[in-house]
Amino acid sequence: MASISIPVRSQDKAKSGLLGWLATVDHKKVGLMYMVMAFVFFIGSGLLALIIRTQLAAPGMTLVDPNTYNQIFTMHGTGMIFLFTIPMLVGGFGNYFLPIMIGARDVAFPRLNAFSFWITLGAGLVMSIAFLVGDRSAAAWTAYVPLSTSTYSPQSGMDIWLLGLILAGIGSTLGAVNFMVTIFTMRAPGMTAWRIPMFVWAMATTAVMVLLATPVLTAALVMLVADRNFSTQFFTTSNARLWQHMFWFYSHPAVYIMVLPAMGVVSEVLPVFSRKPLFGAKAVVISTALIGILGFTTWVHHMFVSGVSPAIERFFIFTTMVIAVPTGVKMFNWIFTMWGGSLNLKTPLLMCIGFLSTFVIGGITGVIQAAGPVDSYLHNSYWVVAHFHYVLFGGSVFGIFAGLYYWAPKMVGRMFDDKLGKLHFVLMFFGFNLTFFPMHILGLEGMPRRIATYAGDRGWAAGNLVATIGAFTIALSILVFIINLVKIARSKEAAPADPWEGNTLEWMIPSPPPEYNFAVIPTVQSDRPALDARNGGVTPAAHH
């Protein structure tokens, strides 16, 4: 068996203490810093959601005034998207595991990588300042013009927020370049295209989408800043749809930027915990790539009520329905992976089952509202809030927790408490459905999104109360997760290198991995190198 041994560079030696973290260029430490940052913003944005749900628990509540309420849901949305989900999945999981899974010692440009993190953290701080300064309110996360222009959002909070978003975009664009070059040039010998792990394929597709979509948003943000401060005239009221086009050209693909990596995690966890190969791995790769391409052809479905010509509307209804097909293909791949497998019912698998069962509902409601006439009834109602939370919480967040439990032993070198993990899952699963399922009905009953309160005679009280109870159940589940984190920190039980009998290269190195990852760069001979190593040779492909 041939293998390449490259001497470990001496400057790679870890510095200890705080300076070791601040000055690090190690992809694993950078990844962990992304995760910690993302988790802090997850807690912050989640607390804001609890304020929203408390306010809406009963009709006519005045916990916060409408202006504050607007700022809270705006910051909840931007925080969850730009400062939690994307940094956690792309910056956190991507940085930590992408290089290890392809058998590399780091990313292609480690210093640039650390720079991306610090710029992203700066973006988070700047956006938080915007929230504290205030008056970022009336425009929501979509920052539609003219609400976001100096006429309707005259104070500096809006400018600071835009600056933060520009910074976040620069950070993620540089990160995408880094990941793509890493995947192109740094794979271990023998890692041909079909042997690349599913998570890495997902990250590759995500990186392409970030690279192509983010600069368009950056251009729009810069134009809006210029309109607000230098009297340019890009987004005049008669040009309002230009903002919508540029914003959604980024923000529809952004949904896949948040979902594809989570799908990648699920595609890694399910085979390991079903003790079977991934069913139709090539179909998973091809459907991932198709989602990446089709993701750029659907953005106008957000603009059906903004006035687009019938021909254009028909085209985008069609593309929006078509993109459900590759997603549906994956659902079957995942279900048939579990089918007949000997399921290892630990927390990571449960989180994946949570992902599958909730994400499928978000997919179906997406197809329903893709139809233009249906959309014009549901647009800006609570139905939409239900839909995208089924996609982004049901999809991304369950995927994130699947990944956190799956990889926690590898990252910290200790085992988590699986009973607590299961409690976390059960509380989060029921809490999630309690919170967001009633919102479909509230939307159908005509409750608009983004309202600060509602009158008692609308018939929305029961649904809202259930949703609020659900939200606090989710909060409780996160508390259980934090307790589990504390238990992990105090645990004496060292995690083995491969606690799950994994398939991919990260399970062939110690937990936690040494700074250089691999003492000897492995040679890959199949799509399941860790399984090969356990069996002492290439495992013949199993039949399903």
């Binding site: 370049v177 070059v181 192109f184 040039t185 368009v216 086009h245």
Partner: protein, 191 residues
């Protein structure tokens, strides 16, 4: 056979070139977005494009700048060829010639901005016109900075036919800047 140190340099060059290409892709999307806005507003605006009362800017300075841009593309190509032949003096000469082209370009452009500043505030047309010129000019400035770094490193004999990633990156990015200018010139002045 390459020694392992040479192999590492070669590997870094390959990696760096891919990185620069991908960065240029994202830069292209940025300008594509601005051109999209130009056409979108041009098509959907109810008034004329350019609007009545806004005169098209003069063609002469833009033609001069196009000529400078094309010359700089040739001098950059010659600089790149020189380092491939380990010709240090050729590298410095042609890189310096490129800097001269770029600096004259920026001088002409500054004069343009003085005269055009008024149109940005009058209309979407003027705003986009100036924005496209401005963000191209920012890239020209970055390009000049890169060229100056190349000149400093070359004068310190830190570049040669193998150790040339910095030159490659500068040349590739400059070709991109040339391409953007040709698009800007065609769309804003000719069409």
């Amino acid at each position: 056979m390459l020694s392992s140190a040479q192999f590492a340099i070669e590997q870094r060059r390959r990696t760096g070139r891919i990185g620069v290409r991908l960065f240029i892709v994202s830069e292209t999307m940025f300008f594509a977005a601005l051109f999209f806005a130009w056409y979108y507003l041009g098509v959907t605006s109810n008034s004329a494009w350019p609007p009545d009362g806004v005169a098209r800017p003069l063609l002469a300075p833009a033609v001069l700048n196009t000529a400078l841009t094309l010359i700089s593309a040739v001098t950059m190509w010659l600089a790149s060829r020189s380092i491939g032949r380990d010709d240090q003096r050729g590298l410095v000469f042609w890189m310096a010639a490129s800097v001269v082209c770029a600096v004259v370009f920026m001088a002409v452009q500054t004069q343009e901005f003085r005269e055009l500043a008024y149109i940005a505030q009058g209309s979407s047309y003027g705003s986009l016109f100036l924005f496209l010129l401005f963000f191209h000019a920012v890239r020209v400035f970055v390009g000049v900075v890169l060229m100056l770094i190349v000149l400093v490193r070359a004068s310190m004999h830190q570049l040669n036919a193998r150790r040339r990633l910095l030159v490659d990156a500068t040349v590739m990015y400059w070709y991109f800047i040339v391409a953007v200018w040709l698009a800007v010139f065609t769309v804003l002045y000719v069409l």
